[in-house]
Amino acid sequence: MVKALMVVLLVVIMAPLLGGLLTGIDRVLTARMQGRVGPPVLQPFYDVLKLLGKEALAANRRQVAWALGYLVLIIASLALFCLGGDLLIIVFTMAFAAGSFVLGGFSVRSPYSHIGSQRELLQMLAYEPVLILLALGVYLQTGSFMVKDLFHQSQPLLASMPLVFIALLIVLTIKIRKSPFDLATSHHGHQELVKGITTEYSGPYLALIEVTHWYELVLLLGLAAMFWTHPLGAGILLALAAFFIEMVIDNICARLTWNWMIKFTWTGGIILCLINLGVIWVLRAGGV
């Protein structure tokens, strides 16, 4: 029990530091890919510190509550993940967190915020099936939904589920808001939605959202690392490679529309997962 509490405490403190650093590296590398000098690596931390120093102004109290809910639920799912918890519960907690974020966007009257929230919902519609299929795949392979049981595997998950990993890359692109799927907040681009779902957040509350994104980034990369648990170093390298691939994709694509995203994830992502799961199932049936 004490050990579990220690892990949770460690996660709460370390994850944002790691997430912020990764975001900073992302910004520097993206700048270099575009031929720019780019900001210092610690820029995300400077940004958040500056936001924290600003006046706390919220459109209404519900908005703050939903933002807090988003943060707490993401931390909860990350903690569950680090404790080796049930993958299904983790996926659903993440969905709840995203739902809270969406409701925060709907709780204000800005049209940009509303459209951003609608798009965030569409994004959830696009990636949730893939995540659930991922959990299902883990179950088929290991006979358990628990993350900690993955560590008893002799063979990395990547070997048996390469197609699911590719589908996870698509989910990562959506979740860390990269082109071609940067639809709900227009993270880099801002072109059509100004700042989409986060338009009406400012000061410390925006900092809160930013920090939540860092937690989320760590969690998502954790999901990627899960594909190679033995040794864990390889998994971390795999996650970093996935992160780098995301940056490259971001830099070679234009942003696309939401209808295209739904079409692509539902055909591409889900079919990839289903084929992979089918193969596993057939192999296991044949083996048994």
């Binding site: 270099r32 890919m33 031929g35 720019r36 000098v37 780019g38 490259v248 070679i252």
Partner: protein
């Protein structure tokens, strides 16, 4: 798409094309129209520059022998340079630090020269 990947990779492995303004200074080509400067040893207060200035950035007091230049009105068009009969106006192009308040530059004849 493949073209873009090669661009991305070559950018990643080469020096960035931007520079850290204003920490790194840029070499300006000769003849850059930066700002103008008056040489009061040559000025005869004929006020031709003030007359030719399209932005009314120069005011010359012919009797009081003073010339007031407003750098914030100046559009660096070189009209005054072309109009000056004594070549008393020259260009220079140093980097000028930003300021928080507007100011005017007053020019008076150098002592002992009294605008010959």
């Amino acid at each position: 798409m493949a073209k873009m990947i090669s661009t991305v990779m070559s950018n990643l492995t080469h020096c960035p094309k931007t520079r850290l303004y204003p920490l790194e200074e840029r070499q300006l080509p000769p003849g850059t129209r930066g700002q103008i400067e008056f040489d009061m040893t040559k000025c005869i207060f004929c006020s031709l520059c003030a007359k030719r200035c399209p932005a009314d950035a120069i005011t010359v007091d012919r009797k009081g022998k003073t010339l007031v230049f407003n750098p914030f009105r100046c559009i660096i068009c070189e009209s005054c340079l072309e109009g000056c009969p004594k070549d008393a106006i020259s260009l220079f192009s140093h980097w000028r630090a930003p300021v928080t308040a507007l100011y005017e530059q007053k020019y008076q004849p150098e002592p002992g020269q009294a605008g010959d």
